[in-house]
């Protein structure tokens, strides 16, 4: 966090990713088991760790932990959004 100022640009991508995830999650038409949900969330967390934080992100809510270590939060929120979108659609 630069100078203690909350910059919205670090949060907005995560919110947008979540909304887009819901949109595309409603297009899933396959039964999704708990095992698949666990798998995609774990994989997206690992992926988020590998991708690291976005450029110019310095806050914990942006996924920044310490230099060289951070999470790409939009990847995780997108996955959660897809799962929620699928739940909203139901097993059709």
């Amino acid at each position: 966090m630069a100078g203690g100022v909350i910059v919205l640009g670090e949060i907005t991508p995560s919110i947008i990713a979540f909304i887009l995830g819901i949109l595309f999650g409603t297009q899933l038409a396959h039964k999704i088991t708990k095992r698949i949900v666990t798998l995609v969330i774990v994989f997206s967390i690992v992926g988020a760790l590998l991708f690291g934080t976005f450029t110019f992100t310095y806050s914990i809510y942006g996924g920044y932990i310490m230099p060289g270590l951070g999470f790409d939060i939009p990847l995780i929120t997108a996955t959660i959004g897809i799962i929620i979108g699928k739940l909203l659609r139901g097993d059709k």
């Binding site: 919205l8 640009g9 899933l28 798998l39 790409d72």
Partner: protein, 272 residues
């Protein structure tokens, strides 16, 4: 001209008129305001954020070239479907022609290896997430709407290869057309606030590099994406403005265009 009749036609003509007037008047207003190079901000800051020159460039301006590029995909999709897929794409004008009889897609789960059987769907879901991530990160890193669209449709194709007609990613015809139309329309309409406020169509009122946008619009379109750039020279605050929104519109556009190509060639197309 039949397409221009009715309410939709009137709306389309009015929209085309507004956009044409906006773009033409913007061109007149540009006289004397264009500097050599990209912009003063680019010249001052670009070398400080050298890790990504493209990102710095798109902070300044993203013109209609990208919109036209994505529109070219639509034209390509239509032409290729009409030329190569004739018979597969059954539209009204071609009703008199007999449909090409192709073998139905088979869904044979036993032909999949264990890995594909259990990881095919999670892989497709993760690809969708990755596509979304790419478009949300595009204002500060590599990637963008085009790349997002390609990744998302790759997920669609991957799932179609794995599961055949029982594709878990059910991008239907209406969804693809809708999302493509929203993308194209959204891209163009994002130029409207800039035009109304500054008389420059698609002026980035969020970034506002000329300092001519009303503060309220600068706040609405700029602050949600504002980032602090911590550099050796100090801390700067910068916003890509409407660029992330344009990227999302472009992603929708590309998903619609490429998705329709896949849809037509994999599942066929029928008006009814």
């Amino acid at each position: 001209m039949e397409e221009l009749k009715g309410k939709r036609g009137i709306i389309a003509v009015i929209a085309l008129l507004i956009i044409s007037i906006g773009i033409l008047s913007s061109l007149f207003e540009l006289a004397g305001n264009v500097r050599p190079g990209i912009s003063q901000i680019y010249n001052a800051l670009a070398y400080l954020v050298a890790p990504n020159n493209i990102a710095t460039w798109v902070y300044d301006w993203r013109g209609f070239d990208t919109l036209l590029e994505t529109a070219v995909i639509y034209v390509g999709a239509v032409v290729s479907a009409m030329a190569i897929g004739r018979g597969v794409v059954q539209m009204k004008s071609y009703k008199q022609e007999s449909l090409l009889q192709s073998k139905p897609l088979e869904f044979r789960l036993e032909s999949l290896t264990v890995i594909l059987k259990y990881l095919g769907l999670p892989a497709a879901i993760l690809l969708l997430s990755y596509g979304i991530m790419v478009v949300t990160a595009s204002s500060t890193s590599g990637g963008g709407g085009f790349q997002c669209g390609v990744i998302m449709t790759a997920a669609y194709l991957l799932a179609a290869i794995f599961y055949g007609k029982d594709n878990p990613i059910r991008f239907g015809k209406r969804f693809l057309i809708g999302i493509g139309a929203v993308g194209l329309g959204g891209y163009i309409l994002l130029g409207l606030p800039g035009f109304l406020a500054t008389r420059f169509w698609q002026y980035n009122i969020g970034a506002d590099i000329w300092g001519i946008a009303p503060p309220i619009l600068h706040f609405i379109f700029g602050d949600p994406f504002r980032l602090s750039l911590v550099l050796k020279e100090g801390v700067f605050f910068s916003s890509p403005g409407i660029i992330p929104l344009i990227n999302i519109a472009e992603a929708f556009n590309v998903i619609g265009a490429i998705g329709l190509i896949y849809f037509a060639f994999i599942y066929g197309w029928q008006e009814e």
